[in-house]
């Protein structure tokens, strides 16, 4: 992994030096253990800020559209920058989605793909520690060695703290890239796809209701899920529209439900299951289950997966005569 990081830095330095790109979007170390922060590198001198490790959890596609927006108040000619970005499988699929939805231009992007064995979920490490904080952590190929703020040490198997999305990830390499570095990742895990959804679907309506009441009563309406999501680029979210006003501003269950269900519907046929919403949630709500249910429906109804290539039309933005129409009701 150290070697991949070194290669990444060298490649980015070259790209910045020869003018292929103006800015590179990558990950840098954050001050707390097991945390990284997105970074924007503009000079070959800064490439040592870039890191590549098992905690590059953020979906960097989220940070791209802002770079292609004309600066507010700027008069006259403006050429959008040439942007480089490092992409795991999920980031690259989100990039494909954003290109197709015309939020970012393919011809101004240079994508460096890196195969991914899955990223560590900081919340899971926190849960393994219990009520104490995380003072320090060391990661190797197989385990995470953590020290709690109470001074106690613990070795955790990395497989036990991988993000849920990563455990089931079927696309571990970038689906779109200008350059790939690092080794081919090991083959996708043999986890039954949508096992969590199937289990949930087997519950009674009452149990399902209780599950979501429990989860969503934790929501504090901070919108971290929405802001971390590459698909949530709307200038004005339905949640905040005032004319018409679709939902209230409170943390009453009815308001929270409308927000999360509305957001999930807007993800239909678009969610790549990157897990950014789950990682961002300060309350540890499992929003993935909601999105996975919709992904499963799209996959079953239209035999389609989301954002695997630029060429293929997306299930919900195209029409085929053989599309499932069982949902239609008589007029």
């Amino acid at each position: 992994m150290k070697q991949v990081e070194e290669t990444l830095r060298q490649e980015v330095a070259k790209l910045l030096e020869d003018g292929t790109i103006d800015v590179f979007v990558g990950h840098e170390a954050a001050s707390l253990p097991l945390k990284t922060s997105p970074c924007f590198v503009r000079s070959p001198k800064e490439v040592d800020r870039l890191v590549w490790n098992r905690i590059c959890t953020s979906n960097l596609a989220t940070y791209l559209p802002q770079l292609f927006k004309r600066p507010v108040g700027l008069k006259g000619e403006w050429t959008p920058p040439k942007v480089g970005v490092v992409a795991k499988g999920c980031d690259s699929r989100s990039i494909v989605g954003l290109i197709k939805e015309k939020q970012i231009p393919r011809d101004r992007l240079f994508i460096i793909g890196i195969g991914c064995e899955g990223m560590i979920d900081r919340h899971s490490v926190g849960r393994a520690l219990g009520v104490v904080g995380l003072a320090d952590a060391k990661v190797d190929d197989k385990s995470v060695q953590v020290i709690g703020t109470d001074g106690r040490e613990k070795r955790i198997d990395i497989a036990d703290v991988l993000a849920a999305s990563c455990r089931e990830c079927q696309h571990r390499e970038a689906v779109l890239s200008n350059l790939t570095i690092g080794e081919t990742p090991s083959s996708a895990p043999e986890v039954s796809h949508y096992a969590n959804v199937a289990e949930f679907e087997s519950k009674s309506p009452q149990e399902r209701w209780e599950h979501w009441v429990g989860e969503l009563s934790r929501c504090i309406r901070c919108y971290a899920c929405r802001q971390a999501c590459p698909n949530c680029y709307c200038e004005e979210c339905f949640a905040e529209e005032t004319a018409p006003k679709w939902l209230g501003v409170t943390t009453d269950l009815s308001d929270v439900f409308v927000f999360h269900l509305g957001r999930a519907f807007h993800q239909a046929g678009r969610c790549v299951d990157c897990g950014a919403c789950v990682a961002a949630c300060p309350q540890g709500i499992d929003l993935r289950l909601l999105n996975q249910k919709i992904n499963k429906d799209v996959e079953e109804l239209f035999e389609a997966q989301v954002s695997l290539s630029l060429e293929e039309a997306e299930a919900l933005s195209s029409f085929r005569m053989e599309d499932d129409q069982s949902f239609m009701t008589e007029p």
């Binding site: 904080g133 001074g151 504090i220 409170t250 961002a280």
Partner: protein
């Protein structure tokens, strides 16, 4: 002032007794560590965690509340009565934050009755910290792991027992109410507390805090905000987990002629926060919004209230989904101040 000790095996009994005619809020275990919760069963109270994931400000300043209701052409006031409340186990930083909120909600002689009705009935038992948390920096912003501001009673965990020091008349009355369960603190206890306090303060990291307000003003156009703005996702996590953030919005929610006026938390990181009715938005970029959050705490609040509105609890740091660290920002601002 009254100084007592309470055997830790009697904490539940202590809380049960005091909770008889009060609402009791205390830390309980949660999937994110610990959280403040209204507790009916004191056996659930967990004092082993440090900072709860969310601050206890919600006890006195709820995320949302109805200011009044209305129907067609007349309004109905909501009753302002609040129940006696015991906030037990808040850390000194959180107690201090309540002291700061008090200043805001009574600013320039204008009392906020919605805030004060709860605050005036809330007795705060703060629990001093023996060891700091992963992102704590209270001593750098004028606080202390054994600080007394905002609390009515300060408690110390001495291993086998809790030492309780009354700080206000309300705190003294509270301790007297439970006097059957406590013992008078001995000289030995007091010495142990002093030692624990010294130990705790030593462990905290010192970070530079920009205090030159003129230099901070100069930083308004500094380059650092640009990159911070690119990193900042524009969510409200930092503001909502912060014990001192107090900005709110007021909206009317109506349905077929019936409605309510609701006050709810708001965050300066949201793009809609400063959107005018005209469509104009004075803070068009995330850089401007992030700058507002930092300068409000470290420049405008010192100007208005004489102190920074940050108690160093570190929640914004541990919870930021973009890995932004306020300590690093403050360090950069401090070095900026030195240059200019």
């Amino acid at each position: 002032m009254l100084e007592m000790t309470l055997d830790k095996s009697k904490v539940q009994e202590f809380l049960r007794l005091l909770g008889e005619n009060r609402r009791l809020f205390a830390p309980v275990k949660d999937r994110m560590g610990t959280k403040f919760s209204e507790v009916a069963d004191p056996s659930l109270v967990c004092l082993d965690g440090l900072n709860t994931n969310l601050s206890p400000k919600e006890v006195v300043f709820p995320q949302w509340e109805t200011l009044y209701t209305f129907k067609e052409d007349h309004a109905n006031e909501v009753k302002l009565a609040a129940q006696e409340t015991l906030l037990f186990g808040a850390r000194p930083c959180d107690a201090r934050a309540l002291g700061l909120l008090d200043q805001v909600f009574t600013w320039e002689g204008i009392d906020d009755p919605y805030y004060l009705r709860r605050r005036e009935k809330t007795c705060v038992v703060a629990l001093a910290c023996n060891t700091p948390g992963e992102a704590c920096f209270c001593t750098s912003v004028g606080g202390s792991p054994v600080g007394e501001i905002g609390a009515d009673v300060l408690a110390f965990d001495l291993g086998e027992q809790l030492y309780l020091r009354a700080l206000t008349e309300r705190g003294e009355a509270l301790l007297k109410e439970a006097s059957t369960l406590t013992e008078k603190a001995t000289e030995e206890d007091k010495q142990a507390v002093q030692q624990a306090a010294a130990e705790a303060e030593k462990q905290l990291q010192a970070i530079p805090i920009p205090k030159d307000l003129a230099a901070l003003k100069e930083s308004f156009d500094a380059e650092i905000w640009e990159e911070l703005g690119l990193k900042c996702l524009g969510c409200g996590t930092c503001a909502y987990v912060c014990p001192t953030c107090h900005c709110f919005d007021i909206t009317d929610e109506t349905k077929k002629g019936v409605g309510r006026r609701v006050r709810n938390w708001d965050s300066c990181a949201f793009s809609l926060f400063t959107l005018h009715g005209s469509g104009h938005n004075p803070r068009t970029t995330q850089a401007a919004r992030y700058r507002q959050r930092v300068l409000h705490k470290f420049l405008y609040c010192p100007e208005n209230f004489g102190e920074a509105f940050c108690v160093g609890c570190g929640r914004c740091i541990t919870n930021c989904p973009a890995g932004l660290d306020l300590r690093a920002v403050l360090e950069r601002l401090s070095s900026l101040a030195k240059v200019t």
